[in-house]
């Protein structure tokens, strides 16, 4: 049984727009079905946010989404990422998840390369960009995949299979 899944905050679940004229004011737009998705998934997984954004920015977004940590058990931000001579942060599961084992962790991430040591934990998801002509249903589709993974004993093996079966890069 899978115990945990981690997701990045901004790109997958909301679209943050830096408004002109107000240096700090941001407006956010929830991805369609965000709260239904989080309600559904929080009943099946332990949810963790792990983002390369800094703590203040992350908390501002997360406090809009859930005021009393209704869905997410933990929030990790840039200080839990490794930054060096890499254009963006690298996230490491090993240091953060204590006694949780890799086979029980699913990462929902739009950029698999931010987890170079854990690619077989990553379920890719597209970024949210509002399309007025069609309501985005990506989170619902994602939920159906996560539902299946929830019953797997080793998500690494399943994701590796998905990757090898569907990707030309083997």
């Amino acid at each position: 049984m899978v115990s945990t899944f981690a997701t990045d905050t901004a790109d997958e679940v909301v679209e943050a727009i830096n408004e002109q004229g107000g240096p700090t004011e941001l407006s956010i737009k929830y991805r369609p079905y965000l709260h239904e998705f989080l309600e559904d998934m929080s009943n099946k997984f332990e949810l963790v946010i792990y983002t390369t954004f800094n703590q203040v920015y992350m908390n501002a977004i997360m406090d809009c989404i859930e005021k009393k940590k209704k869905y997410f058990a933990y929030r990790f931000y840039d200080e839990f990422c490794l930054f060096a001579n890499i254009s963006s942060g690298v996230k490491c599961l090993d240091f953060l998840f204590g006694n949780r084992t890799s086979k029980d962790i699913i990462i929902v991430e739009n950029r698999v390369k931010t987890f170079p040591m854990s690619i077989d934990n990553v379920v890719p998801v597209s970024c949210y960009s509002e399309d007025d002509t069609k309501k985005d249903a990506e989170l619902i589709k994602l939920a159906s995949v996560l539902d299946q993974l929830a019953h797997e004993k080793d998500v690494n093996e399943v994701i590796k299979f998905y990757r090898h079966t569907n990707s030309v890069t083997k």
């Binding site: 407006s27 929830y30 390369t52 977004i61 200080e79």
Partner: protein
């Protein structure tokens, strides 16, 4: 609390994590997951966040659509995008995996001396290493 102790602790508590990672005094400019600078977040408060109106969702609608989703097809779709393939290729081709692996071992072997020297600050310590 030492990092290796935390890594092997039976439970996971946020306060212990903060303690283990030594919180910075000042916020450093973060980079967004897209590689650019994050918005000027130092002064952002929840009250400054405006939530834009979107089409109303409903649990009923959510469940109805979910029941109609072909999960196998979606798996095929998301694991065969060009972005995913490029990322996997980049991950495999980049020079960093060995360095990252080496760093992982070094971090796992965090000694009290190293922690003292680098103030338990993982980011700072990682930044001292030559990745490439």
């Amino acid at each position: 609390m030492a990092l290796e102790q935390f890594a092997h602790s039976a439970t996971f508590e946020e306060e212990k994590v903060k303690e283990a990672f030594h919180k910075k005094d000042e916020m450093s400019p973060a980079k967004s997951s897209k590689g650019g600078a994050a918005p000027t977040s130092h002064f952002i408060k929840p009250s400054m966040m405006k939530i834009q109106e979107t089409l109303k969702d409903s649990t009923e609608e959510y469940m109805k659509i979910k029941a109609s989703v072909n999960a196998a097809q979606h798996v095929k779709d998301i694991f065969s995008t060009s972005e995913y393939k490029e990322d996997i290729a980049e991950t495999k081709n980049q020079k960093t995996p060995h360095s990252l692996q080496a760093m992982k071992y070094k971090l796992e072997a965090f000694t009290p001396e190293v922690q003292k020297k680098f103030g338990k600050n993982l980011t700072q310590f990682a930044g001292m290493l030559n990745f490439e």
